[in-house]
Amino acid sequence: MSSNTVSDLTQALRRIGGTVTGGVERLGYMARFLGAILWQTPMALRRLHLTVREIYFSGVLSLVIILMSGLFVGMVLALQGYEVLRRYGAQEQLGLVVALSLVRELAPVIGGLLFASRAGSAITAEIGLMKATEQLSAMEMMAVDPIARVIAPRFWAGIISMPLLVALFSALGIFGGYLIGVRMIGIDAGAFWGQMQAGVKFWPDITNGIIKSIVFGAAVSLIAVLEGYDAKPTAEGVSSATTRTVVISSLAILALDFVLTAFMFRGVGL
């Protein structure tokens, strides 16, 4: 082999190694950052109005997109589900199918992805801009820890908002399924709700949906505040941090979803 290919190979290997060590370093940094946030939480809780304000910006302002998406997803589920169930003469189960799909998977995952793109990116952009305009530095110089005052409230607001938004997504989705299934297609309302109630169990289905939404909320919030805090204080820095938040949050949600689903629904039959 010529010396050129050898050096190319070693360089490629070095780059792969660098990416892996960089990724592990980042995870460690994320863990330390989370530790710092949790450490500062009591101080942030003393200023409850800060967290309430952030719940408004993350949660309330995401309501429109969550409600609309939930409704549409539920309606589509009903349409598609009906087509498939009809082949086996099991249309009566439509309510159950819609409810289970939403509560177990679609609401936490799609709700999480929407939250990441709407609220997560907004949080990253806001914190990044505060960094770029030296507001975080100013706070530090005034002996106020920006983690307590800026980061922690946004983190906890995300964790509180997510389960609420996901529950609303499920509820609206089931309503959408009802609209299509019962009102439009003509399935018996009693069968729709009855099969649903018989088949959807509070534990594990609904509680696991709630657990998933809390875990996703924590992941998205942590990634969003971290990327904002770490953003380069330039226009490109902030914009690339915002993009990274959405991409990494989405991947994290899907990966965590797989892990959680594998744990929760092992060996649970219908």
Partner: protein, 287 residues
Amino acid sequence: MPVAATADKHATLSPTRRLDPAAAAIELNDVWFAYDRRQVLRGITMTVPRGKIVAIMGGSGCGKTTILRLIGGQLKPKKGKVLVGGQSVPDLEPDALYALRRKFGMLFQFGALFTDMTVFENIAFPMREHTDLPESMIRDLVLMKLDAVGLRGAAQLMPAELSGGMGRRVALARAIALDPMLVMYDEPFAGLDPISLAVVGQLIRRLNDALGITSIVVTHDVYESLKIVDYLYFVSDGRIVASGTPDEVRASSDPFVRQFVDGQPDGPVRFHYPAPPYHKALLADVQ
């Protein structure tokens, strides 16, 4: 003159007075600092006496802001001592550092006002964070500070609604909110119109004297600085290349000082960025 009228007393200045290191409030001793691999400061030694205004001047990116961050404890020097009131800043515990920072005020470049709060809330911020004063008292104090900078009527505006000069003044009011012992100004004159320039400059001087504080002004605005400061340091390539009182600087024959003060395009700071010889570059593709 309205600015003078807001001050409680008029300080007497003697620009030719030697600055006594023994009375220094801030002292940097052979400080070295580097960002990653870029060496920014190479052995800076300077003193800022109590109650005086000192300007740090130099071209862009020469390390002026870094000096402020070292004094404020946001950065730690690789070598050398940074002393504030006798305390070594890099060696302070986090609690002691925060206690020290409460005695500082800082005016950031372009203001760094908190964009989600009103002008009033921006100035009340340090008071609410660090004191237990009742809201009525805070309200009075905020209005006093705003009055000192002439913006009492703008208390309910949002930072986005302020002009550059107004925003800078509000940031100044916030910097002196807790009556600090040291105020640091990072490019306070950047991007201001001539009227605002004069106003900010006069405010820096009058407030320094009226409140008995020490001020460090980092800037490259020569004209305004010479009008208001007590002493100047010129930084170039990480080193202090010249220093003196405004009169000494005006009369200086040091080539760097002259190029800076007179605004000459070429001198010790070269006009041309280092490049290979011109004719060679033009003829490069002709064999």
